[in-house]
């Protein structure tokens, strides 16, 4: 069920070509499109983590953006304290998000379906409220600004600065590809298969002796961690962290990306992320009513193309 297509050599080659093609973007694309592509890649990492939750673990969460936001703030706070190494900044987002996810997951995962949806939403809104109100830490709605780009040891020697659009784009590309690879591996592993079983029929898994709560908890925390890493990238990219990163509509757009792209395929969320981002940033410069178009598109997909773009490809 999990994109068996990708295991074949032909498709691996296709992916490699795609990745290399993407890597070359900084060389030929106009600056604004590099920016859009960068944002899309960051959003793609977020969308992939949401797909782990939704598509693989079967947990629909309306509060996933909260972990993204927590990651962004963690990275921002660290960066503003003069830490500028790339790895610490990336990792702190992931770790902070994972830590925050633990109590939330422990409480929310005791419910399911609608109540899970509501609980995750509630916790996310609480975190948003914290971001807005804990002014001494987060500067409230002004947010944390002036976040510098990180440095990495080898880059200085090669005279590459991450302030350069192209270089930062490649960084995001690398993170996205790594995330994709890690999640692919996870999906095919015994852990991933067990998760799939829990999603398909939790009662049966329980009757087979599987502690389903623990698996879902693990998936929840891992997904949050990945979202946190995306958050770090966002903070580095934008140079600021603001509360609206955590607002539930951000989670909503994540769901849009995953559904339009196609759940349970990993490449789907990536495609969906590009669609959403292009609509948000690209379309909006030409068309005023881009939200309307995206909303209508989304409705169309939910009703008529439930398998998303990936589903369309599979059918033809």
């Amino acid at each position: 069920m999990i994109l068996g297509r990708l295991t074949s050599a032909r498709n691996a080659a296709l992916l490699a070509v795609l990745a290399l093609g993407l890597a070359s973007v900084p060389l030929w694309a106009p600056r604004f499109w590099i920016y859009i592509a960068t944002q899309a890649l960051i959003f793609a990492v977020f969308a992939m983590s949401l797909d782990l939750l939704l598509g693989y673990a079967g947990l629909p969460s309306l509060g996933h953006a909260a972990f993204y936001g927590v990651g962004a703030y963690a990275c921002a706070l660290l960066a503003l304290r003069q830490v500028d190494g790339l790895f610490p900044l990336l990792l702190v987002g992931g770790v902070a998000a994972a830590i925050v996810a633990m109590p939330i997951g422990a409480l929310s995962l005791r419910t399911s379906g609608v109540y899970f949806l509501m609980l995750t939403l509630a916790f996310a809104q609480m975190l948003w409220g914290l971001a807005v109100n804990w002014v001494s830490l987060t500067r409230g709605t002004d947010g944390l600004i002036g976040i510098p780009r990180p440095t990495l040891v080898g880059l200085d020697a090669l005279e590459i600065s991450l302030y350069e659009r192209g270089a930062f784009f490649v960084l995001c590309l690398v993170v996205a590809v790594l995330t994709f690879a890690v999640l692919q591996v996870l999906a095919r592993s015994p852990f991933g298969k067990t998760l799939e079983g829990i999603r398909e029929n939790e009662t049966r898994m329980r009757a087979l002796g599987v502690p389903t709560f623990r698996y879902r908890f693990a998936a929840f925390v891992v997904a949050a961690g990945i979202a946190g890493v995306a958050g770090s990238l966002a903070a580095m990219s934008n140079g600021y962290a603001t509360p609206d990163l955590l607002y539930w509509t951000a989670s909503g757009f994540g769901l849009v990306a995953v559904v339009v792209g196609g759940t349970r395929s990993l490449i789907g969320p990536v495609l969906g992320a590009f669609v959403v981002l292009v609509a948000q940033l690209g379309l909006s410069t030409y068309v005023d009513r881009w939200e309307l178009i995206l909303g209508a598109l989304f409705i169309g997909f939910v009703l008529f193309v439930p398998g998303g773009l990936v589903g369309l490809v599979r059918r033809t």
């Binding site: 591996v185 592993s189 991933g192 067990t194 799939e196 398909e200 009662t203 329980r206 009757a207 698996y215």
Partner: protein, 243 residues
């Protein structure tokens, strides 16, 4: 593994689905639980398996008090079960279904690297063959016929290598051949596996079970050998002479 329930009561609001039911099944014993519809047989199995929390009473598995244990822990103690309505992984293939069960039994779920597990594949193939469904290995479970689903349901329970098995109407809706295969499969179970089977198919009941427990309206009305149960006036009354 012994399976026993003591004073088991399950109430849904004002309705007592089970009322002070005592059940003692020795290790390796083959026990059938019969009774008219609504007698509480499935409720009994659900309570023993941990899917349902009883209002009163206790459950013991293998001498341990299991009343507070969640369903998965009871399964880990060696309890396997089938469900009245086939509870399968519909969107997965038959082979994947059995693989999940074997993997769960071997507790391989916490491995994060995909490796080809040949012993697992071999075991899955063996089990499918024994169940007579090897030809369906790559078919999606949702696409199986009713009887085939029931057989897969039994295979999933068996794949966990249980030391006590709860079967909920495994024969329901099976064709003649399918019944035969399933009866053989169940009959061939090792002697130390306890079996509690809820069934309406009385031929299967007499073929498999050494003792029978009869429930009616949530109350145990008889408990003994087939002969004793057949002779029991109250049982006859409840079944209107069907036995």
């Amino acid at each position: 593994m012994e399976v026993s329930a003591s004073g088991l009561t399950v109430r849904f609001g004002a309705l007592a689905a089970l009322n002070q039911v005592d059940l003692e099944v020795a290790a390796g014993e083959r026990r059938a639980v019969i009774g008219p519809n609504g007698a509480g047989k499935t409720t009994l199995l659900n309570a023993i398996a941990g899917e349902l929390r009883p209002t009163e009473g206790s459950i013991r598995l293998g001498g341990r008090d299991a009343t507070r244990l969640p369903a998965w822990r009871r399964a880990r103690l060696g309890l396997g079960r089938t469900f009245q309505r086939s509870t399968l992984f519909s969107r997965l293939t038959v082979a994947e279904n059995v693989a999940l069960a074997v993997r769960a039994r071997d507790r391989k779920g916490w491995r994060f690297w995909p490796v080809r597990d040949r012993p697992l594949e071999d075991e899955v193939a063996r089990r499918l063959a024994a169940g007579g469904i090897a030809h369906l290995a790559n078919r999606q479970a949702a696409r199986l016929g009713h009887g085939e689903r029931r057989i897969l349901e039994v295979e999933l329970a068996l794949a966990a290598s249980p030391s006590a098995l709860l079967l909920d109407e495994p024969m329901a809706g099976l064709s003649g051949d399918e019944r035969r295969t399933t009866l053989e499969r169940l009959g061939a179970l090792p002697d130390d596996v306890t079996v509690v089977i809820v069934e309406h198919d009385l031929d299967a009941v007499f073929a498999l079970a050494k003792r029978i427990t009869v429930l009616d309206h949530g109350v145990k009305i008889a408990d003994g050998t087939p002969t004793e149960v057949r002779a029991n006036a109250r049982v006859q009354e409840v079944y209107l002479g069907a036995i």
